[in-house]
């Protein structure tokens, strides 16, 4: 099965908004998803530049094609589990 791609923005504002904590997925992922994800680090996804975003909605994380705004470690892990569950059901 293809691994789930998790792209974490580590640009300046995402980093200070908490991207560093999400990067822990790379080094100590929960056991149930450890071998099912592939972490793709990104220097900057350029999403904070979007002027329509009145406030910064970082940190930004892409799980496959889905964008998570104001991401947290838990939110990303939950999203991964949800996709895995959907994949199983399908």
């Amino acid at each position: 099965m293809e691994k789930i791609k998790v792209k974490i923005c580590s640009g300046t504002s995402c980093f200070v908004m908490g991207a560093a904590a999400i990067q822990a997925l790379e080094f100590t992922p929960p056991e149930d998803i450890a071998d099912k994800i592939e972490i793709v680090e990104s220097r900057c996804l350029n999403l904070c530049h979007n002027a329509e975003n009145k406030h910064n909605h970082g940190p930004f994380v892409m799980v496959n094609d889905e964008l998570i705004e104001e991401a947290t470690y838990e939110a990303v892990v939950n999203k991964i589990r949800e996709i895995l569950k959907n994949n199983c059901e399908a």
Binding site: G11, N56, G58
Partner: protein, 391 residues
């Protein structure tokens, strides 16, 4: 200073254990218009505040006289008059070593009562002839003057007697480390790393001297100054996207054509270079740190880092000292800066609006300001040659 020679001067000091301030004083000054660097080391009698005042006075006087090219004997007499011999201990109140280096190659060394300077060329210690001069007024105090024409890769090392006598009182080193022990150590360091910077060598000498002491506590003030003559090492630091996007191509070409090392600081900046030069850039996970975004690797580029947070941390470390136990992007950038002599900053002035969001948990500096702080520090504290261009 545009000559082909660069002089890196660095010092490291430890005060005598239990004292609040250094009894030795080191004062280094660059005179750009004359292409000279003058370094003075003075050891004040005793330790603590009294010694500090004596050695500070001596270095300031010596620097003033050297800068204004006052005749040597005349200036020495004035200094000896001001700092007479201690009536009780019959030794000078303060010693001094002065190294007056010109970029053209001529270097004069003037010494009174400090351990003689060490001169290293081609990995060996070289004895430089000196002549003694003494003033009719102060016959018992002699000054040694040496002159040498320096070449790239020469090094001059000055030390206070706290280095040569380190370990005195420790049964393992009844006579202390001694100058010869120090020379052997320095030669070993240079054999290990022929291009060791003045900064690293000065730190290594002081660290080694401390290992000779009982409980690694300095028994006297310990100071080491290293003057390293070398061909300049150039570094280009590119940080920030240009104000005008039309300049993306131009700055990418600057990077690809630069005749030295290159560092890119900023995610968007790295994205521009990656796009324009069709280079592959990958995050380097060995640089993980909770507080500093990871570095990346890009072919042909020596270092790629995030921008503001890394630069802010670099500024802090340049002020307070580099954390040797870490290997994050900021430590790598600080080391790269210190290992370079001529640093060209190219600063993109486009402001990332997201960084100004008051909801961010911390204040982010404006790029232009943090770079300004860094380059002033590099100029004033580390004597680097800096150029800055805003795009």
């Amino acid at each position: 200073m545009s000559s082909s020679l660069f002089i890196e001067v660095s010092k490291e000091q430890r005060q005598k254990h239990g004292e609040d301030c250094f009894g030795d004083t080191v004062y280094i000054q660059k005179i750009p218009e004359e292409q000279r660097i003058i370094s003075v080391l003075s050891d004040g009698l005793g330790s603590g505040v009294k010694a500090n005042i004596l050695s500070s006075m001596t270095t300031r006087m010596a620097m003033k006289f050297m800068e204004s090219n006052v005749e040597l004997l005349r200036s020495s007499e004035i200094m000896m008059d001001a700092l007479p011999i201690c009536q009780v201990r019959k030794i000078s109140y303060a010693t001094f070593s002065i190294v007056d280096s010109e970029l053209e190659g001529k270097t004069r060394i003037i010494e009174m009562d400090n351990p003689p300077f060490i001169f290293i060329r081609d990995g060996k210690e070289m004895n430089i002839k000196s002549r003694e001069i003494s003033s009719p007024k102060w016959k018992e105090r002699t000054i040694n003057v040496s002159q040498v024409t320096t070449q790239p890769e020469d090094r001059i090392i000055l030390m206070s007697d706290g280095v040569s006598q380190a370990g005195l009182g420790n049964p393992k080193y009844p006579l202390g480390w001694q100058r010869q022990g120090c020379i052997s150590f320095i030669l070993k360091q240079i054999r290990k790393n022929p291009y060791i910077s003045a900064y690293d060598l000065a730190h290594a000498v002081v660290k080694e001297a401390l290992t000779k002491e009982v409980d690694e506590q300095a028994g006297d003030d310990i100071s080491c100054v290293v003057i390293y003559f070398r061909k300049p090492r150039k570094l280009l630091v590119l940080t920030g996207p240009p104000f005008d996007e039309d300049k993306d191509r131009e700055i990418a070409e600057l990077v690809s054509l630069y005749d030295g090392k290159t560092a890119i600081c900023g995610g968007t900046t790295a994205n521009i270079i990656e796009r324009e030069l069709c280079l592959k850039c990958e995050i380097d996970k060995t640089s993980f740190d909770e507080n500093i975004p990871m570095a990346s690797t890009m072919e042909g580029i020596d270092l790629v880092t995030e921008g503001i947070l890394t630069l802010t941390e670099v500024y802090r470390m340049l002020k307070e000292g580099i954390d040797k136990n870490k290997n994050n992007a900021a430590v790598r950038l600080a080391n790269l800066l210190l290992d370079s002599d001529k640093i060209d900053f190219v600063v993109g002035t486009k402001i990332n609006i997201a960084h100004q969001d008051p909801n961010l948990p911390m204040e982010l500096e404006i790029r232009r300001n943090i770079v300004k702080k860094i380059f002033r520090l590099l100029q004033d504290k580390y004597f680097k040659e800096i150029s800055v261009r805003y795009v």
